[in-house]
């Protein structure tokens, strides 16, 4: 019985890992094949599709727009989220739990619903420009990640460290900068990183706020896939996988995988 259980567990784990990596592996493989019809490379590898990336219409602007929106939204979220996390962890006021739930709730609620709600709301306010509405909306996407990891980090933070720094000769603001910020750096990084990634990847909120001139990367990509699916998309996707790997390696170096996995 135990044996069977263990064998089952291992089988499922192996299956899961293969299953999870399959779409990534096939994307990478297809991008390296010279065939134009999504085939695995047979005898030779080719970078032809990577050279085609430059010919994709509107890719670069969409990448830049996505990065700009994600960077600004993450910066704003780090500030607002840190303040709010300090408030709920350190404060002694009724409704702390409610505020925490409120500020992380976009994680659990359908993004599409938020998207149409914002669409109607901005329209009723007469706000129709893509960039400001995207920025305003993406803070709602990023801040929950920051809030979640920082409340976790802060509730483990030992505030006597600040007292210690002050008795050793640092003023209060310097103590915060030299002790609290570095000790909480892993939480900032994890929250910021996942928030940033989810902003770059966001489709269901952005789709309602973009216009013909302002397409974020996911919207542009989905459009390519719908219009002309060819292995160039696989090449772009492979680059995105590579970038994600880099970000994860960086995170592992700075924070450790365990903390990033939230376990």
């Amino acid at each position: 019985m135990r044996r069977i259980g263990l064998a089952l567990a291992w089988t499922m784990l192996t299956l899961s890992v293969v299953f999870l990596l399959a779409p990534l592996a096939v994307t990478i493989a297809v991008s390296l094949s010279p065939s134009p019809v999504f085939e695995l490379p047979r005898d030779e590898l080719s970078l032809i599709w990577y050279r085609q990336i430059g010919a994709l219409d509107g890719l670069l602007p969409s990448v830049l727009l996505s990065l700009e929106v994600a960077a600004i939204a993450t910066a704003v979220s780090l500030v607002l989220g840190t303040l709010a996390a300090i408030a709920v962890v350190r404060g002694r006021f009724p409704g702390r739990e409610a505020i925490t739930t409120f500020l992380v709730s976009p994680l659990m609620l359908p993004g599409l619903v938020l998207g149409i709600a914002l669409l109607q709301y901005f329209r009723s306010l007469g706000l129709r420009e893509a960039l400001p509405t995207l920025l305003l909306a993406h803070v709602l996407v990023v801040l929950p990640y920051v809030m979640r990891t920082l409340t976790g980090g802060l509730s483990l933070f030992d505030f006597t460290l600040l007292d210690a720094a002050r008795t050793l000769g640092l003023s209060w603001p310097r103590a915060v900068l030299q002790v609290m910020v570095p000790v909480l750096a892993p939480s900032f990084l994890t929250g910021g990183l996942f928030g940033f990634l989810s902003s770059v990847d966001n489709y269901p909120v952005s789709i309602f706020l973009t216009d013909v001139y302002h397409k974020t990367l996911p919207i542009q990509l989905l459009q390519y896939i719908g219009e002309s699916p060819d292995p160039t998309i696989a090449a772009v996707s492979t680059l995105m996988i590579g970038l994600t790997v880099l970000v994860l390696i960086l995170g592992e170096r700075l924070v450790g995988l365990d903390r990033m996995a939230g376990v």
Partner: protein
């Protein structure tokens, strides 16, 4: 030493130029009075223990001295300078926190050098002082380890070295040894005392462990509910406790309540559950009093109470029923019950302890001079 008073540890109470003067400091949290107009003078180089049950305000007092908390009333002066509302980083008061509060993102050496960097001490000098600090706590070989990898005792030493590295005018230690196991705690007590004495550091050491306070201090301030009940040398605290609270908090004793029956010059005769007890003191006849005797002052047999040259009737004797014995290692405690249920505890040699049989009656005696006397508090 420029303006400190180096005197006998006992001699500076109320002296106008004490090194550290705590003058009627008060602090309330909401309705609770945590410090109640507390005053304390400390001489330079003195090692003072604040001893008291948990919740009596020891940490609160330290935080006020460090500037981490503002007092509601009162003044604190250190080396002739009024501390007032000076922020912690301008006080030059070192603190060793109860949980050590080591910076987890820094190495051992970086922790020790933290205060030097904060004060912008030039790098070469800072490095030399960190090296000396490491040597002092014998952790040079662990200089580049993250502090999170150290054992409890090592962390404690790093916390000490970090606080001392900036050469503070005063060091405050908040139950620095309470997290260590007993054996290590005893080693660290000696180490800490030697270190602070060698540096001639003025120290306030908070503890709720009376043995630790007795072992380490020049003087002990016994605190209770935000006030100092008694400030004295360890021996005096133990031998002449100023109140039943101090008596109860420091060491074991047998306590008896009674009424003064006869006044005979400097001697009183008090009627207790154990019979008449003779004690030196000044009370009027009929006064209700509390008597106490330390266990090691009570002996087995009638001889222990004899005062040389005062005749056989001068001592106090009593018969108790032996309830239990506790073997302590060096000696043995015998617990007895008197006729009306009062408990008596005496310390005997191990051999004597062996011979005492629980359930049997035992004749014990002690000298009138060794009997402590307090007024009986109403209720």
């Amino acid at each position: 030493m420029p303006n400190g008073v180096v005197g006998s540890p006992n001699g500076v109470v109320g002296s106008p130029d004490a090194y550290l003067r705590i003058d009627r400091v008060a602090k309330r949290f909401g309705r609770a009075t945590v410090l109640d107009a507390l005053s304390l003078d400390v001489a330079e180089g003195e090692f003072i223990s604040l001893l008291g049950p948990s919740g009596c305000g020891k940490t609160t007092l330290l935080r006020i001295l460090a500037g981490l908390l503002t007092a509601d009333a009162g003044r604190v002066t250190l080396a002739g300078r009024e501390l007032g509302r000076l922020p912690p980083h301008k006080r030059n008061v070192g603190v060793v926190f109860q949980n050590y509060a080591l910076f987890p993102h820094l190495t051992v050496a970086e922790n020790i050098g933290f205060g030097l960097r904060a004060r912008r001490v030039p790098k070469p000098e800072a490095a030399a002082r960190v090296a000396r600090g490491l040597e002092m706590i014998r952790l040079t070989h662990l200089a580049d380890r993250p502090v999170t990898q150290l054992s409890g005792g090592q962390q404690q030493r790093v916390a000490m070295a970090r606080a001392l590295a900036v050469n503070p005018a005063l060091i405050l230690l908040d139950e620095p040894l309470s997290a260590l196991d007993r054996k290590l705690r005893e080693t660290m007590q000696v180490e800490l005392r030697t270190l602070l004495r060698a540096l001639r550091m003025t120290a306030i050491f908070v503890t709720h462990d009376q043995e630790e306070a007795l072992a380490l201090s020049d003087r002990i301030a016994v605190m209770n509910a935000g006030r100092i009940e008694q400030l004295d040398a360890p021996r005096a605290i133990y031998d002449r406790p100023a109140s039943p609270f101090v008596l109860d908090f420091v060491g074991l004793s047998t306590t008896l309540s009674g009424v003064v029956e006869r006044v005979d010059g400097p001697m009183l005769e008090v009627v207790t559950a154990l019979g008449p007890v003779r004690v030196r003191g000044q009370f009027v006849r009929g006064a209700r009093v509390l008597l106490a005797v330390r266990p090691e002052k009570i002996g087995v047999g009638s001889g222990a109470g004899n005062v040389p040259g005062a005749g056989p009737r001068a001592g106090n004797t009593a018969t108790i029923r032996v309830a239990d014995r506790t073997f302590l290692g060096r000696s043995c405690l015998v617990h007895g019950v008197a006729a009306e249920g009062d408990r008596v505890v005496l310390e005997t040699s191990n051999d004597m302890g062996e011979r005492v049989v629980p359930g049997s009656d035992l004749l014990v005696s002690w000298r009138p001079e060794d009997t402590l006397l307090f007024p009986q508090v109403a209720g």
